[in-house]
Structures are given as structure tokens and as C-alpha cells.
């Protein structure tokens, strides 16, 4: 087994996804098949191989440190499920 139901519960928590028991069981089975397949690359000898994060070589891409155009507060907030006084409102944290 590449991944257990306990692992699935743990990654679901890390990814902030609520799952019920039936989903944990279903996803554990499916993810196990996928990881079994994907895990085959572990057998390859890659000791002297450099990792690739991007297909094109990129250096630091920087812009001039200057204020550009930005969204007006009411525009930035236009899609918020709950907003008040130019702020996003979320359930109480503390």
C-alpha cells in the first residue's frame, strides 16, 4: 500500500478538505492505485540529474519598484461572500 486511510485523513486535513468515512475509503483506494503507478519512477537512477522546475530557463524577473495601477477597494471586494467597511469578513478566529 502506497497510501493508507490514515494518510488520506492527514492530507485532507492539510489541504483543508472535509471528508466523510466513505470518502476516505474511496479516495484511499483510488489514490493508492495512482501512487502505485506514479511511484515507479522511484526506481530510476537520477543521482546525477538536476531537477527541472520550469521548461524555460528563468532568471529573476523583476519590475521597476513603482506604484502601478491597482484595483479600487470596492472592485477588489466585488466578489467577496461577506464584506464590510472595505474588508473581507470571516467567521470569528479568536
Amino acid at each position: 500500500m502506497a497510501i493508507s486511510e490514515k494518510d488520506v485523513k492527514h492530507v485532507a486535513w492539510l489541504a483543508r478538505l472535509a471528508l466523510d468515512d466513505a470518502e476516505v475509503e474511496k479516495f484511499a483506494k483510488q489514490l493508492d492505485v495512482i501512487l502505485e503507478h506514479a511511484g515507479k519512477i522511484a526506481e530510476l537512477d537520477t543521482e546525477d540529474v538536476q531537477p527541472t522546475a520550469h521548461a524555460i530557463p528563468l532568471k529573476n524577473v523583476l519590475r521597476e519598484d513603482k506604484v502601478g495601477r491597482c484595483l479600487a477597494p470596492e472592485v477588489a471586494l466585488a466578489n467577496a461572500p461577506h464584506q464590510e467597511d472595505q474588508a473581507f469578513v470571516v467567521p470569528r478566529i479568536v
Binding site: I3, D7, V8, H10, V11, A12, L14, A15, R16, L17, A18, L19, F27, Q30, L31, V33, I34, L35, H37, A38, G39, K40, I41, A42, L44, T46, V49, Q50, P51, T52, A53, H54, A55, I56, L58, V61, R63, L71, V75, A76, A78, N79, A80, P81, H82, F88, V90, P91, R92, I93
Partner: protein
């Protein structure tokens, strides 16, 4: 006349000569939508009023004697993954079911400035994750060639919309084959440019190191025309490349004399349907008859592409999709007890199963203890795959292969078995990992369903790739259309 059947270049001539108006053209396309959309279901949103207003603007320009570009007045559909200001953009997901962007993606903006008439936003697999468009949070799109079959995915709606003549062309996005695979299954041309050629600004991110926007068209000429206006450096996308813009229509030369074409044996091996192989072998003969030198080559590491892809893409997705948390936009559960409860249930209710699978896969591959074995190793395998391509391109100008291992499969056939669904992208995924351009052109049918020939170019080798695709198309003379 059934204007909706024509290509961009045919329609442009008619618009310029005032044989037709942009309004007539838009009305023709909308009457086609009225006729077939109920059966095909390509569109999530149809923007008829906006389109007719834009067409009237273009007509005014033409009447006033202003010169118009090749895309002016052309009815165009956009995959619902690209932000369009003031027009709902769902990404095929319930979590963005009510999202109305406050800005327009650069790719779409470039085309709007050229005068396209946007007909609407097309259906897709949720967050572009899938190969059949069955993962849409809204409904299933059907293949115009056989309504019981899938159009492919994730840009299924953008493929079916062109195949069914519900738009003259469309835009899609391709992370592992999401333009080329549905283009092949729907019998049209679909192209993924070199990574970085088209700005990703305003494209809702799936896997940022792989995503690229490209066109679906009825022929290769239209593909070159759209590409001319789609590309360009954008300071809003740090991965956007700076090049002098070529005129891609100049690459459309019907002659392959001396062009060297490699056929990777791994993409003609086990797993590719034997009837598809036969169609591809016939295509190779057509390329040879046009003067090309065709030979077998090898990309020994691409058998590991699928494994590397299903670690890298979900890893990037798990990070990109963290932004959907019910705070700034999209769905939020109405009755959250606290912040964590809001995150957990908003995402559980807003995302579908495939998106959850990939978020969890990616989170797992990046988590402590597994990072080196999965993500780190996958990035090294990506290097090996790129090296394979680089070696092959020393000897060959382009590589060709089937676009897909099978023709369009039945709706429901692969839904319960994610890995079998993933395998439908084995020919296209390596191209994304290496950041190369790839195009699928129709090359025949198997049992009445279309087959695609994939032409893979070198980095920024779009011109040679288009030349090979164009020459093939001219000699092959594809004219079949689905009967709807």
C-alpha cells in the same frame, strides 16, 4: 448561405468585400447554437447580446471605411478558465459558480482588441482536470460525432463548439493535452504553443509550469492567424518570453522537401489502438510523398511521463487551489462555526471528486517524508524527458505521433477508474513536461470517429511545426464533418 460552416480566412474576405456583415455572421452562428446546443451542450454561458453589440461595432467600422484585421467580427468561444471582465467565469466549478471577474485575461484581451465577437464561455473539466469534460461541475458535453461519446477534455466545450460549428474558432488551455486531445477526438485542429509564448495572466491556474493557452480551429491556416494575435510578451506574466513576433501565416508552405521527421517508437507501441496506428502509418506515407524524410526515433524516458506528470501537476495544483477558501471570491458555506470549519466545508462542497483527488495527491507528494521520493524525483525525471527531446531534435525538425491512444470513448466508461482516464493523455503529456509546441490535425477516422496526428516542434519552433501540419492537411484534404 450557412456562414457558420466557414473558416476565419474565408469569412474575413467576405467581411472585407462587404458580401456579408458581422451581424449576419453572428446571427448565423447563434441560429446554429439554437439548433444544436441542446444536444451538444458546449457552452456554460452564451453572451448573445454582447456579441450582437460588438458585431454592430465592427460593421460600423467597415461601413466607415476603416480597415479591419483578420479576426474582426469573427464569432469566438472562450474556455471558461480565462477571466472575462463582467462575464461569469466558473472554471467548470461550483466553487466559482457566481464569480464575475473584475479584469480580462491578456490572451482574451489581445483578441478582443482585434475585434473578435465573443459568443460565450465553454464547458470544461473542473479546473481543467480531466480528459472527458465529465468532471464539469455543471453538465456533460457531448461529442458532435457521436452524442453518446465524450468530446475529450479538459477543453471539451471549446472542441465541440468548433466541431459543431457553434463558433468559428475557440480558445482552450493545455496542461497535459487539454487542447490537443479533445481536438483529436472532435476532428478539428488544436494547438498548444511553446510554454511562455502566450501570457497566462488571467488564466485560472492549474499547474503553472505546464499551463498554456492555445486555439481550436477548423484548419491550420486559421490556427496560424489566431496565433499571430495571441502571442506576445506580457509584463503581468513573469514566465512570458520576449521574442520578435513572427507572422505565422508565412510558415504555411505546402512543401516538405528535405524536412526530417522523427517518429518516437514509444508513442507507436503497446497501448496505442492498432487501428489508430494504421491511420498514423498512412499519414507518415503522405508526409513522405510531400518530400519529408521520415524515420523512427526513440525517447527512452517518456514511458515515465505519466508518473512524473501525476506528481508535478497535482503538486502545483494543490498550491494553486489553496486560494479557493471562501474568503475573497466564490462559494462559502452559509453556516460555518469557525474559520477552519468554513475552509473545510467550503472546499468539500465546492470542489468535485477529481479536484479533491489531485489536491490530495499533490499535498501528499509535497508533504514531509515524501517530498524527495515523489516531487523531487518527478522533477529529475522531467529533466530526463527534456534531454530525450533535445537529443531527438538534433536529428529531426519535428516529431510526429498519434495525439491519442484511442478514439472518443463512451460517456461514463472511465469515470470510476481515474488511472485509465489519465492514460488517454500518454501521447500529449511529455510535450507539456518539455514545454514544447504541439498541434493535432485530423488525419482520418476509425469506425466513424476522428483520429488526430500530433506534430511536435522544437522550443519556439512553431513555424516548422505549422509548415508540417499545413502540408499534411493540404495533401490529406480532410473535409468530413459530424452529422448533427
Amino acid at each position: 448561405m450557412e456562414l457558420f460552416k466557414l473558416t476565419i480566412h474565408e469569412l474575413h474576405e467576405k467581411l472585407v468585400s462587404k458580401e456579408i456583415s458581422a451581424k449576419e455572421l453572428a446571427q448565423s452562428v447563434f441560429s446554429r447554437i439554437d439548433d444544436v446546443e441542446e444536444r451538444v451542450k458546449s457552452y456554460i454561458t452564451v453572451t448573445r447580446d454582447e456579441a450582437l453589440a460588438k458585431a454592430a461595432e465592427i460593421d460600423k467600422k467597415i461601413a466607415g471605411g476603416e480597415s479591419i484585421g483578420p479576426l474582426a467580427g469573427i464569432p469566438t468561444a472562450i474556455k471558461d478558465v480565462m477571466n472575462t471582465e463582467g462575464i461569469r467565469t466558473t472554471c467548470g466549478s461550483k466553487i466559482l459558480g457566481n464569480y464575475v471577474p473584475v479584469y480580462t485575461s491578456t490572451a482574451v484581451k489581445n483578441l478582443l482588441e482585434e475585434g473578435i465577437v465573443m459568443t460565450g464561455k465553454t464547458n470544461m473539466d473542473e479546473f481543467a482536470m480531466g480528459s472527458s469534460t465529465e468532471n464539469s461541475g455543471f453538465f456533460v458535453t457531448r461529442n458532435p460525432w457521436d452524442l453518446e461519446r465524450v468530446p475529450g477534455g479538459s477543453s471539451g466545450g471549446s472542441a465541440s463548439v468548433v466541431a459543431a460549428d457553434e463558433a468559428i474558432f475557440s480558445l482552450g488551455s493545455d496542461t497535459g493535452g487539454s487542447i490537443r486531445q479533445p481536438a483529436a477526438l472532435c476532428g478539428i485542429v488544436g494547438m498548444k504553443p511553446t510554454y511562455g509564448l502566450v501570457s497566462r495572466f488571467g488564466l485560472i491556474a492549474f499547474a503553472s509550469s505546464l499551463d498554456q493557452i492555445g486555439p481550436f480551429t477548423k484548419d491550420v491556416t486559421d490556427c496560424a492567424i489566431v496565433l499571430n494575435y495571441l502571442i506576445g510578451h506580457d509584463s503581468n506574466d513573469s514566465t512570458s518570453v520576449k521574442i520578435d513576433k513572427p507572422d505565422y501565416t508565412k510558415a504555411l508552405v505546402n512543401d516538405l522537401n528535405g524536412i526530417k521527421i522523427g517518429v518516437p517508437k514509444e508513442l507507436m507501441a503497446e497501448g496505442i489502438d492498432s487501428k489508430i496506428k494504421a491511420v498514423i502509418e498512412n499519414s507518415l506515407k503522405i508526409l513522405e510523398a510531400n518530400g519529408a524524410v521520415v524515420a523512427e526515433t526513440s525517447l527512452p524516458n517518456i514511458e515515465h511521463s505519466l508518473s512524473a506528470y501525476y506528481i508535478i501537476a497535482p503538486a502545483e495544483a494543490s498550491s494553486n487551489l489553496a486560494r479557493f477558501d471562501g474568503v475573497r471570491y466564490g462559494y462559502r458555506v452559509p453556516d460555518a462555526e469557525d474559520l477552519i470549519d468554513m475552509y473545510m466545508r467550503t472546499r468539500a462542497e465546492g470542489f468535485g471528486d477529481e479536484v479533491k483527488r489531485r489536491i490530495m495527491l499533490g499535498t501528499y507528494a509535497l508533504s514531509a517524508g515524501y517530498y524527495d521520493a515523489y516531487y523531487g524525483q518527478a522533477q529529475k525525471v522531467r529533466t530526463l524527458i527534456m534531454d530525450d527531446f533535445n537529443r531527438a531534435f538534433v536529428d529531426y525538425d519535428v516529431l510526429v505521433s498519434p495525439t491519442t491512444p484511442t478514439t472518443a470513448f463512451k460517456i461514463g466508461e472511465k469515470v470510476g477508474d481515474p488511472l485509465s482516464m489519465y492514460l488517454s493523455d500518454i501521447c500529449t503529456i511529455p510535450v507539456n513536461l518539455a514545454g514544447l509546441p504541439g498541434i493535432s490535425v485530423p488525419c482520418g477516422t476509425v469506425d466513424g470517429l476522428p483520429v488526430g496526428l500530433q506534430v511536435i516542434g522544437k522550443t519556439l519552433g512553431e513555424e516548422m511545426m505549422l509548415r508540417v501540419a499545413y502540408s499534411f492537411e493540404q495533401s490529406f484534404g480532410w473535409s468530413e464533418k459530424p452529422k448533427l
